[in-house]
């Protein structure tokens, strides 16, 4: 009984949309619009001799609070801020959604924060708020996950893709004596980071010192514990003479280690990758894994504080080639687009794993 009028009304709406279509010819399209430039916009010049200001308000805004990784990273920041005689603060949303960080950025800029250190849930969604904060004289340093370079002063990159590839290939080569078949256990087939690293690993393997190593296959565990576990099982079943596995993802390497530790391959097939000490501790202790790597999140937060203080004190402006001191980590040089690389990944093994808790 209500069908006819309802249908008619909906058809009317559709018609209206079609009319709008014809009216909108030659409107704002993607190919017709010019994107704003996205390079880091650096103005002015730093004065390397300027004294480091004390009492700087340096605030950390992680992707979300109560996330163990960021708790450790921000903890490193706290140490640095104390050394710098600044005021440390950590705020953030309880969910890692794209827009939830925006109101925190607004609040921080409202509070007159000198430096905002943040890890972006979305490279663009927080851009507008960061630009407003910078207009209100705050310096913005991103770490772990960058925004568009035009929205921040500097980016503290945990590691370069090249650094990871070199490190992972070296680790596996040392463990299998520089010869034999290896496989990679990755996350998802379309994970940008993973694919970039794998490509660079392949290039790395072409070097003469790795000529006896053969990469047979890449398996995908989808960063799912169970799937990664099964994929490891499958790798060893289909390649009985496999000597080693690289899993450059924390989920994958932990699942692979769990499988190996309970199988006949324990101690015979080498495994390395990117993992966290807490997840990998038992497999290091029971001899399944000799070593693995990751950057130190605490150092990442530590370096970000020093970069922020150098910016806020006017020692640097985030231009390529500028140098600044970062306490116990030594001196760093600003790279292209205001990015600073923390350094090569840290290797964890039986000798040092108990010093880390993250």
């Amino acid at each position: 009984m209500t069908r006819r009028p309802t249908l008619r009304a909906l058809t009317g709406l559709a018609l209206a949309a079609v009319l709008a279509t014809t009216a909108a010819c030659g409107g704002t399209t993607r190919s017709g619009s010019d994107d704003g430039g996205s390079g880091s916009q650096v103005t002015g010049k730093g004065d390397p001799d300027a004294p480091t200001k004390s009492g700087l308000k340096i605030s950390y805004l992680p992707k979300q609070i109560n996330n163990p990784y960021f708790t450790v990273a921000d903890g490193g920041g706290k140490v640095a801020v104390t050394e710098l005689k600044g005021v440390y603060k950590e705020v953030g949303p309880s969910d890692a959604s794209a827009s939830s960080q925006v109101s925190y950025i607004n609040t921080l800029s409202q509070q007159g924060t000198d430096v905002i250190v943040t890890s972006a849930n979305d490279p663009n969604a927080i851009c507008g708020a960061l630009k407003q904060a910078r207009a209100a004289k705050a310096k913005v340093v991103t770490f772990d996950s960058d925004t568009d370079p035009s929205c921040r002063d500097m980016f503290i990159n945990q590691v370069t893709a090249q650094g990871i590839a070199e490190n992972q290939v070296k680790l596996i080569s040392d463990q299998i004596g520089g010869a034999g078949k290896i496989a990679i256990l990755s996350a998802t087939p379309n994970a940008t980071n993973q694919n970039a690293w794998i490509e660079l690993m392949k290039t790395e393997l072409k070097k003469p010192e790795y000529s006896k190593i053969q990469l047979v296959t890449t398996a995908y565990g989808n960063d799912d514990d169970q799937k990664s576990f099964q994929e490891t099982q499958g790798l060893l079943a289909s390649n009985p003479d496999l000597k080693g596995i690289i899993s450059p993802t924390t989920v994958g390497v932990a699942a692979a280690a769990r499988y190996l530790s309970g199988s006949q391959y324990k101690g015979k097939v080498a495994l390395t990758g990117l993992g966290t000490p807490n997840q990998m501790r038992q497999y290091i202790k029971d001899g399944t894994v000799k070593n693995f790597a990751l950057w130190k999140p605490a150092d990442l937060g530590y370096l970000a504080a020093y970069a922020g203080a150098a910016l806020a004190s006017g020692q640097i402006v985030g231009a390529e080639g500028e140098k600044f001191k970062a306490g116990k980590l030594g001196e760093y040089t600003v790279g292209k687009d205001g990015a600073v690389v923390l350094g090569p990944p840290t290797v964890f093994d039986a000798s040092n794993i108990d010093q880390f808790n993250f």
Binding site: A17, T21, A24, T28, R30, I65, A98, Q110, D122, G128
Partner: protein, 315 residues
Amino acid sequence: MTTVILVILAASVGVDGFASGRNWGFLLLDLAPIALIALPMTLIVVTGEIDLSVASILGLTSAVMGQLWVSNLPLELIVPLILLLGALLGAVNGLFVTRFALPSLAVTIGTLALYRGLAFVVLGDRAVADFPFSWTEAAISTIPGTPVPWVVVLVAVLAIGFGVLLHATPVGRALFAMGNNADAAAFSGISVGRTKFWLYVAAGVVSALAGVFWTLRYGSARADNGTGLELQVVAAVLLGGVSIFGGRGTLLGVLGGVLLLGTLRNALQLADVSADALTVVTGALLIVSVVGPNAVRMARQHLRRRSPALNPAKP
């Protein structure tokens, strides 16, 4: 409403930086999508129904908007298409609730998952972020000379529209009648099904509008945009004094509820209260707002039973 004023006054005095114009600009921008969706939601809750899929409609329309933009359609065309899509998504809700007479809670929990899932089908974990600056800037631009963003005008116009509809027309009276007793309303000649159907369509359109605003405000179309927003909307509506059982409530009260939730969160955030504590406060407030009226009613009934001479007060 008095609570809102009290909170605002207390925050202005007690919290550094709260009373500044810039902070109000931020606050209003944050509240705009909640306020928008709360308008049709109020009408739906007044009829005794609910729509939990609104935030998923926001997310799906945002994702589709991104995909259409990538496919090189002009924004002038995308926006009407998105609003139409919102109407369609709302119509699906309405159809299931009215024609198939299913409980709206069940239907819209279903479409909450369904629409959010479709959003991920459309855009996956990608984000479309290259919207033209002139459009993203327009979304956050303020009325010249004031810190008030233009979107507040949009909210105000729609609020007046929905307010007049609810409080000054036969349709509005019918909505209250349905909420109090759907059968009696049907017998008195109100077309319950058709009215509810159009309310869901309206909720769909307004959620899509909020989706467009969200996408432009954050300059980023993503499938996870607005996740969990439906709870904030429902919270604001209940906090605004609308009965979850239908039949009672005012639109002005709901706008007060939106403002109360927003100012409270903003003030506590400025006072460096952690996000976890904020969630606890919001939850507690919601419980109080739902339990409060019931407790009052029970107390009244108790009194009435003790003194039968009192006139039975009509709620």
